[in-house]
Symmetry: C2
Subunit: 122 residues, 2 copies
Amino acid sequence: MKPCDFNYSLRVRLKKEESFFGPGVAQLLRLVDQTGSLQTAAATMQMSYSKAWKIIRIAEKELGFSMMERHVGGAGGGSSQLTALGRDFVDRYESFQRDVYDVADKLFEKYFLTDCENGVRE
Amino acid sequence: MKPCDFNYSLRVRLKKEESFFGPGVAQLLRLVDQTGSLQTAAATMQMSYSKAWKIIRIAEKELGFSMMERHVGGAGGGSSQLTALGRDFVDRYESFQRDVYDVADKLFEKYFLTDCENGVRE
């Protein structure tokens, strides 16, 4: 019996000709939703503000709607929040990703963990 | 109604600390199986022979068994073929990948194609 000493990784992206929405921008938008700040969201992911801004713009352009609204000014220096369409889209992507992972876990078990030593991944 | 004008992409890899087996090496090994030649297999994928050799070596090292046997010499300048374990492993990876895609197709439909114009992907 061989030991079960490897795992799998899986990445889901949405694309037209090019990818425009993946785990990074989804996490970023979720963090904007939670923190009310694109700057905080980007910093949390150790991503530059300009890159954060750019990947959201690309997604919005391809999807044809705004995902995030900025409220400029005020005591805190402005804030950002998701639009209803933006939040709904992030929800869908996260659900899609989660369900794919759930099934992939079971399939990985079926194909790779049935004849090894402990039957569980490291 | 919005048009259904995007699709998804998905990549499945096997990993320990690092990825060691993905779509590229799987396709390469399948081509070795079909052509009996690593050189032909690599050329078909527009991959250098040395890279082809390297990615197979990495997979073999991580898995702890040989996936390919070389038969040196002879009129045709030698040939390569998969070991039984190698072929079995490629079979499993392809089945894993295919089943993940099948389910992901259905999930993509569920989450992204239910409220758009034609209900089918481009």
